[in-house]
Symmetry: C2
Subunit: 109 residues, 2 copies
């Protein structure tokens, strides 16, 4: 996936997910994250994801066409199951922010 993601012209929606990780079973975490991203990518309205992780921290920004596409993703059974495991096992704490992208600037050398 491109980094930065090649998003369309605004407006669209960004979901900013900021987490502290427990560090427990992180191989499984990585595998599940990859699987979930592949699933999200099949959904109508998913525009892409930018994610970085260190041992203790995760920062993931996913982009969506509209609120309806986010809602569909939140109702996805696999995603619901993953969120439950995440709270039990991988996250010490996290904040999820939903934000409407109003403008964007690109730079390329």
């Amino acid at each position: 996936m491109d980094f930065p993601v090649n998003t369309p012209k605004p407006p669209y929606i960004a979901v900013i997910f900021t987490a502290r990780l427990t560090g427990v079973e992180m191989d499984t975490y990585g595998a599940l994250a990859t699987e979930l991203l592949e699933k999200a990518a099949t959904l109508d309205g998913f525009l892409g994801e930018e994610a970085l992780r260190t041992d203790e921290r995760g920062l993931t920004v996913s982009y969506w066409r509209d609120e309806a596409s986010i809602k569909a993703w939140m109702k996805d059974a696999e995603h619901i199951a993953a969120r439950k495991i995440g709270k039990e096992k991988w996250y010490t704490c996290f904040t999820t922010r939903v934000a409407k992208v109003e403008r964007a600037y690109d730079f390329e050398k």
Copy 2:
């Protein structure tokens, strides 16, 4: 700084900065980033920053009270000089997105 940042109730503004790094003189880059963050933190309306970096990629989300506070930061002389060096030396490409945070959810174990 807290990770996640302890932001006030929405609405507020997120600036999402996603970059590919050249890998050149990254020690200097890290030092300047720290210096700039300290400067930003003195500004009225700066709410905090969440940033992660690997060798080749950077993802930084800063939070601001309103458009006026972002505008003041964009006019800061030190920040202007740093952006110029960044384009010359450190960034292969980047995208900056300005987004209005409409809602947020916290989880803590």
